[in-house]
Symmetry: C2
Subunit: 428 residues, 2 copies
Amino acid sequence: MKRPLSSWILVAIIVILSAALIGTLLFVKNQPAQVRGVPALVVIAALEPDSSQWGLNFPNEYSTFLLTEKNNVRTAYGGSEPFPHLEDDPHLKILFAGMAFSKEYNEDRGHVNSLYDVRNTDRVNEKTPGTCYSCKSSDNPRLWGEMGMAEYDKTPFADLGQQINNPIGCANCHDANTMRLVVTNPALEEALAAQGKDWKTFTRQEMRTVVCANCHVEYYFAGDGKYLTFPWTKGTTVDQIDAYYDEVGFKDWEYPDTATPMIKMQHPEYEMYTADSTHYLAGVACADCHMPYTRDGAAKFSTHDVKSPLVNPAPACGACHTDVNYATSRVTVIQQAVADTMSATEDALVDAIEAIKAAADPKADQALLAEARTLHRKAQLRWDFVAAENSMGFHNPEEALRILAAATDMARQAQVKALKAVGQVAGN
Amino acid sequence: MKRPLSSWILVAIIVILSAALIGTLLFVKNQPAQVRGVPALVVIAALEPDSSQWGLNFPNEYSTFLLTEKNNVRTAYGGSEPFPHLEDDPHLKILFAGMAFSKEYNEDRGHVNSLYDVRNTDRVNEKTPGTCYSCKSSDNPRLWGEMGMAEYDKTPFADLGQQINNPIGCANCHDANTMRLVVTNPALEEALAAQGKDWKTFTRQEMRTVVCANCHVEYYFAGDGKYLTFPWTKGTTVDQIDAYYDEVGFKDWEYPDTATPMIKMQHPEYEMYTADSTHYLAGVACADCHMPYTRDGAAKFSTHDVKSPLVNPAPACGACHTDVNYATSRVTVIQQAVADTMSATEDALVDAIEAIKAAADPKADQALLAEARTLHRKAQLRWDFVAAENSMGFHNPEEALRILAAATDMARQAQVKALKAVGQVAGN
């Protein structure tokens, strides 16, 4: 039986439609996941360092991220205005004598300024290793992948800089294909692994804290290769970090005249916050307060204008605390107590340093003097754990005050030992 | 027109009913207020010292109050089991050398035991003034009214005891006629008035904290009349209390061998809690945690089994905190930090005392030695403000740790000054 022409036309239409459907489905299947979402406009390449590319798909996140360039406000004890700490607190030139922080120590500005600022600080010179770029650029995930971290770290700062063009950006915390939060810094991955932790098993809320630890941690440069290392194998409290540095015999610099091996602490926000702080134990992540959910018209998103919650307390504190004024008044009371206590610790450290210097006498009791120097190192390490930590104690008030009390005690004991070291010469 | 008999009967009934109604209304009007309520059974006389009388009207409150006799449980750092602090912490015999607390210092038991326990402590002797009964008996409001506080205080303890038969009870905090909370201790009323405060204007929630200050405060016995006085005219923080004692030149005792004028702190719970603690600023009263609302069948009442909330966290913490385990775990973390820091302060105080004793040399620099003694006094006063306060810092964690840090610093500075006082003799 011969089919009429109209039947053949129908079959042809069916075949064409089926082919079109299969082709479309295959195309969609091969697209990155986020393109399937409503706002998808472009495909973002894996490890794409240029945040403006990501911004095409995520305009709210990107436009708030850009605010970190100019929107730098000073708070009572920090914020992101680059005020000079050395002028604010004359103790610091004494405490950091003999190392770079006594030359320049300005408050950090927002994320977008990271590359410009690291290249324009007086702390960088011809000996600076590439490691110093580790927290400054969204080119890092790509470079770590291409070079390996060991090679990256041992490349001189000036040479490595040729391959670095972007400040901190999207690629430092996000997977380009899925947008999920990822640990990109190999030093963090290694430090977690050394504690038996695999970040790939973390919950989303845990990731909203741990990605900040890509940078907001204490670290040091291990060995001649200046290998970026987090001192976490014994744990992440200040006492465990102190024990680690003692065990590996590390020093950041030697204190002038006293030859005390010293440790400089770097912004240990992650360690301070996770040391059983009240907010951490309540399940609050860094991003909850520093990148609170924000509305722009119908859109709800995490602001990427990362900064002090005190600049923006209504969304930052108000998501949990019904009385925002009460919450911020608590911050004021707590930070005042920590600042006063920290100032007393600095007085004690300066007195200890003076006493140890005054005991520089070959006839002094050398064993007591050695104890005094060790106490100075441990006291200053603890003080700096609180001082370098960006919250004036608020991330963990009890821990900060506990540490400062111990630091003052150790500094005053160092002073006592130094006095006794000389006093015994005179027969006391 | 003559009325029929039935009319006269009706008129008589109306007259009788009216008279009965007026009589009843007059009777009710003259009754104490609480008798008008449902459970009223007896009229409680004004200032009635016998709590069992009050208990006839308020059986739930009274029966829970009676639990304070036997229901004495030890917590991690306190509670109400009378364990001996002197055995628990060997530092204390040194710190309290030369005064009664080095003889006996047991943890207090519950309210019902107050009278028995004050009469059976080794700290009481023939010189003990009547003032020591001020916080121990529900006979006090009556006696203060009859004798006046000045006369009460100067009566010898043994003599005054003849008129005292009841432990702490209802009359210490309640008005018998209206049951409202009242300040009964004249010393508290005077101390508040000196700060321009009139407790009669306080809200009910404020009263639920301030009645505890009838007793749970720092106090001293002023002058030969041993007049009960709260050192609050400059304010109620430890620094303001220190300044007050300096100004009036008071000492509780003289430290043996060093002749340092010392202050013994007494349970300053009210002062610690109201120094901008997080719970206080959030509007929480003492009674919210220590006398939480409790159910017994259909009745809801404030338990009068006053004790550590840690013994009863479900109603104590759970009224506000949905996760009671989280809340109590915070207490553990905070108290551990305070206990560790306090122990370091005690080490520093003992070292200071030893150094000052060792400097007892007429050739020592007497000005430096005097500074050392002053620093010892101020350090120990601060330590004791936290140590004698019944919460191991939890009533105000930041304030407790701030104070301990300052105390350690002062104690170590006392040690330094004492060392220098001798060292300078030898030419250093």
